[in-house]
Symmetry: C2
Subunit: 411 residues, 2 copies
Amino acid sequence: MSCPEPLRERAERLDAVDPLAGYLDRFVVTEPGLIYLDGNSLGRLPRTTVDAVRRTVEHQWGEELIGSWERHWMALPTLLGDLLGQAVLGAGAGQVVVGDSTTVSLYKAVSAALDAAPGRTDVVVERDGFPTDRYVVESLARRAGGKVRWLEPPGPDGVRPGHLDGLLGPTVAAVVLSHVDYRSAALLDLPSVTAAIHAAGALAVWDLCHSVGVVPIDLDAAEADLAVGCTYKYLNGGPGAPAFTYVRRDLQPSLGQPIWGWWGRADMMAMPQGYQPVDGVGAWLAGTPPVLSMAAVEPGVRLVSEAGVPAIRAKSMALTALAVQLYDEWLVPAGFGLATTRDPARRGSHITVTHPDAESLVRRLVEAGVVPDFRRPDGIRLGFSPLTTRFVDVHDGLWRLASLAAGDRAL
Amino acid sequence: MSCPEPLRERAERLDAVDPLAGYLDRFVVTEPGLIYLDGNSLGRLPRTTVDAVRRTVEHQWGEELIGSWERHWMALPTLLGDLLGQAVLGAGAGQVVVGDSTTVSLYKAVSAALDAAPGRTDVVVERDGFPTDRYVVESLARRAGGKVRWLEPPGPDGVRPGHLDGLLGPTVAAVVLSHVDYRSAALLDLPSVTAAIHAAGALAVWDLCHSVGVVPIDLDAAEADLAVGCTYKYLNGGPGAPAFTYVRRDLQPSLGQPIWGWWGRADMMAMPQGYQPVDGVGAWLAGTPPVLSMAAVEPGVRLVSEAGVPAIRAKSMALTALAVQLYDEWLVPAGFGLATTRDPARRGSHITVTHPDAESLVRRLVEAGVVPDFRRPDGIRLGFSPLTTRFVDVHDGLWRLASLAAGDRAL
């Protein structure tokens, strides 16, 4: 099977006119031949991050020692929060903090939602949602004496407001939804789904892990209540980079998170008796944040901010459109299915194709220099990170996948 | 006021025969004249940490990308846990994990203790304990429908088993105590206090932040139940370095922590329906750990392990003994008090002196090149980190403090 030239030429032409093409040079790329289609799991390393972390370690920690807490680090959770709010979340200042993991952040958010409405003990979450979201909801609904209301998979187009009809009601405190689904890539209409949740008197808790930095988000305009997300995918914040938490300003006085720690205490350094949360979103902090990991967050967010989410989204839609086209061309005949919607407006920046031999294909694809993600039982997730993924990467990656599969099954 | 030479000569002699003197060269020291007496708040930067973090950023993240999760990072929480267990906690393998902040770790521990004993809804904690410990206990006792039983400050010698007599009882689920008090430095006898707590049917939850790495700890031998602690003080793990959690092996099947996340799930990567904790201490993980901060933990622990806690403790006792001697000599006449016990066996590796002008003295001391910690309302905490603090540092630091105070008040 030889590679059909016209399609590759088309990919090359798309790269040639790509206004974001220059951003790849802003990242560390040591193996130019590698086709990395997993930036939606761990984004590449921005060059400026290397210096930012080194400065934090060698200068701030090594030289300035404890003085760096006041000079550089105490404000990091809210500074990074405001930066994320402005750059990628559509959130005015004072509504976002960065610190704990996504799981811990979501735990705080869902717990606060349950506490805020004593009569409401149930939480809605997707049956196919990201595991940690489901587990957090299971834990907290049970603890509240309520139950999980499972939203059954609505198909590759994802949840629409109507899908919630039978699930909402007077006992539901919150609905936890992924803005972009980690497998299907279904992109929900955040404003209309939020409105439907509000109409039933519940709070909307958004998991933005797979949408932040690659899809336009306007939390303030949508009147979203709570949102969490990680910073290590399209924001390129590094492995396990701390998550953010958004709490809408007017909800802040009435919502309280359960993990009372010194970082959320008013007049923290006075170390007073009795917990009193500080005014504002700072009350959502708990313990001392992991500074070295925090230091790696800003450079990636700055790159996304500089490129601009609209331009990133435009390229992202073109990348997934090319991938779907190549899927039709090469992967359908090789026995693959498509778990992602064909509507570009309703998907994020990855696609998932399915194949009975997905696990072995992914292993062989990695050996062949293409890195996707395997999602049990039969999913191959191909992620496109617009600042670092070229159109020829999409072409060559899918071509190698098709070629490998053709070894198993005639094209 | 001129510096009395004989005492400084004695300090120099102590340094000359100090078997740990060579360790200072293993740390980054850019300002040799600085007298850093705050290593008990943020330990100095080990030289090998610079390379460890750089390798994690540039090689593991930058080059190996997502492959590093399986190759290097997935096992970090338990590998670091076992290392800490062996090196500094007296804990056999499989009982310690590293990941979240101390606050989040303590929240899990106290919550699990309350859940394990439905009839027991109260928690004992020190009125003068570290703020985050008090706040976590307040939050969880209230949530459990119980109350906080406050242990009033027993003086600089710290809590003995008898002090718990009136507080323990059939409604107490757990007692949260600092092994070494963050202000007074009182060092508790962990085994006998644990035994007293057990005799009343409660669980002992130890906060080891100010003792780990500088005081011998044998959690297994003491049959401690749960313990948490940070890694950024005497373990030199860097700002906000993740905390550890110890869960005694035979308690693991019956204790469940509340933050159900994908990292604590059995068969995690299968992302199955329904939370089922993995067997063992791995169930105490929640979300994705902050890898860059995790990467900085090992080098400092290795240094402590190489030097050995007994040798570190011996030097620590000599350092605090010198400090108390100099306090008597210089600080008593200058109007200072001592908030730390005079019994070296009953204190950790810092001393706290008190003075009505403590806040302004600390500010001027920092300007004079000596870095202590101010603890409201009137405490000056002088921390001695045996791998990096010299006897002449103790001498010169206290001399400068005395000289500054003499400006306010005649010696």
